[in-house]
Symmetry: C2
Subunit: 437 residues, 2 copies
Amino acid sequence: MPSLLPPASYKRDGMSSEAAELETKVRAMGVDARRAARALAPRRREDKDRALEAIAVELERAAPSILAANEADLAAARSRGTRGAMLDRLLLDERRVAAMAASVREIAALPDPVGEVVSRTLRPNGLRVSRVRVPLGVIAMIYESRPNVTVEASALTLKAGNAVILRGGSDAVRSNAALAEAIGCALDTVGLPRAAVQILPFTDRDAVRVLIHQSELVDLAIPRGGEALIRYVTENARVPVVQHYKGVCHLYLDDGADPALAGRIAVNAKMQRPGVCNALECLLVDERDAERLLPPVARALLDAGCELRGDERTRALVPEAKAAASDDYGREFLDAILAVRVVGGVDGAIAHVSEYGSGHTEAILTPSAESAERWRREVDAACVVVNASTRFHDGGELGLGAEIGIATSRLHWRGPMGLESLTTMKWVVEGEGQTRR
Amino acid sequence: MPSLLPPASYKRDGMSSEAAELETKVRAMGVDARRAARALAPRRREDKDRALEAIAVELERAAPSILAANEADLAAARSRGTRGAMLDRLLLDERRVAAMAASVREIAALPDPVGEVVSRTLRPNGLRVSRVRVPLGVIAMIYESRPNVTVEASALTLKAGNAVILRGGSDAVRSNAALAEAIGCALDTVGLPRAAVQILPFTDRDAVRVLIHQSELVDLAIPRGGEALIRYVTENARVPVVQHYKGVCHLYLDDGADPALAGRIAVNAKMQRPGVCNALECLLVDERDAERLLPPVARALLDAGCELRGDERTRALVPEAKAAASDDYGREFLDAILAVRVVGGVDGAIAHVSEYGSGHTEAILTPSAESAERWRREVDAACVVVNASTRFHDGGELGLGAEIGIATSRLHWRGPMGLESLTTMKWVVEGEGQTRR
């Protein structure tokens, strides 16, 4: 373990004094976070839940100052020309602050993952061996999302016994500071370290780079936002990263699928919320049954207001479909647009998904147990879905209670990141004086 | 998923043609490995075990050519002046080749982790949600160890359904090539892709750097060897890394511990194999009981041939102990030398371990249930041990059957890396046409 006493400065040869000062400040935050994480790790569920309740109360009490800070963010955004949905993402009102407090109370009500005994064995020499869930430590969360992520990420990391350093979007900087201030006050009132939740007070990327280089102080970086942000973090990090890349989700309609069901699932997966990562981006249809399946499913999608972009065989059956460009396959439209392709059975569908999928969510609609089994076994994605909408790939829908995002990376965690994903294990070996032969 | 068709060359502006050629070759290996991994992932246990048996048979059959290659490595090492233990690490003989074949058969006999259902829930809407263990994909193993690691790493990654790219020590390059050739022949005979096990045919670090930059082709890098190698991989990787840093392991003797037991455990932990990562490097003794505990435990260690380096309070009780330098605490001696320190109870011991430990293995000897509970909860290490030797932190001893190393990183896996550590999960959601509300 590194010494937790930071030197006065991290200036190295050739480094500007501004860069050295930034590094010194970011490292000092990391040292504080590490100390807070060590203090939190052994705390019992009651202590953590009491802190979460205090945070909910403080968010409600501090709502006026949170809304004032948010109004300043909104004014600045308007003056930069931000309008419509982008402005609405930033907006807080009393209802939204109340929803944040409610989400914190929901997280308090979830079981504590820390201390869970994951496996337990008795060795022939009498040693009792167990694996126990423990907090990860210090988490760096870099995001561009709505201000509620500030609160939910803080509550989830705290409940799992971790410290967090947050770096939100620059347009929400005042709102996030006000939310963090409320969280800090609440931690004070219950006697937990304020440094358990810190906001990185720099809006430039240099500060992010310094933060994700601190491999002795930061245990995990979670980037959440656009592809550019995620690539920046992945390529610059010296700490482990769990990514949330794009969702290029497919639905494959197998031979014999029910056309009415297919239409309902396709419309739900594509049109319920086209802008989210588990929305459908490409429909694949088995060539053996395309003539029966495609026209009614396309009709349902068109009637729901969806643009279709198909290959030649699709357009022969669906005249309303536009011609798909080659880069429409593998594309995350995040809009009411769907790529469509006729493929050669399960083999063709799996080959298409392997080539164009993003490893997020891949669904099949099939009456065949054999096709379903092949899909489950052979499709490589964080979530494979049989006979249901891709929209179910979500922490709440899968029963995790709350999530910090959906991981498409393979290491450590895949899929919705709930409390368990913010923990690691330790081995506990207990004996009566055994020595090794 | 990236396209698996590599362009003819990866030459970029400012890149030498040698560098471009190296990148092209390494990427081509990565593409082959990815294809092999996809082919292996859905294979059933019988197919993988048949391949492992074929590998064992082929190692036995090819023993003469393996030993000839090893003789050439030994001759080259001797001509570079390698002697003694270092030469012995490199040496293969018929017995050691037979032991490799036996270890492959032991791995075949282990349960297959792939397909294991880790959790299963039924949602209120009737969706059946499960998490299923699946292979990780492509693993890059960079090591400096004995040639048997080539065989064991290949067998473990294959059993878990993965492809592996191996980069062993440059002194064992001919032995490793002969072992990989035998493995490749065996894969051929059972109809599995040869590219499931590949050796990186370059001995310079540039090739390693290129390999660990291929984030679309390599899912995990496992460095195993000296600290310099591990730092190089960690600092240069763009793929996830599970580290195997040094083991600075402590044993804390609590108030009331049995002195005879303490001596036996300390001698076992320090002296049974001083050069391994789970060997003891520092003994801590509670100040309340040091007068009774330290002299007999020191006597046992001195009689076993161990040099002691203590603080002042230790030296007042053990005149034979040398004075510890400040950097003797937190040091991995890997030799018959032990640092000793008198500390203020469990608090003092935990503070020392937090400051100087490497997060590997930390042991307590105590008659107190309360001290044991504090040690289990508050000490942050891959393995905490109560009333037993640190030497038990080992895959075989903890019941994993075989290990690829001991991870001291926190993400993905901690402790002995057996088959389970070489897998990830996927979520499987099954319904009857459910759509999201």
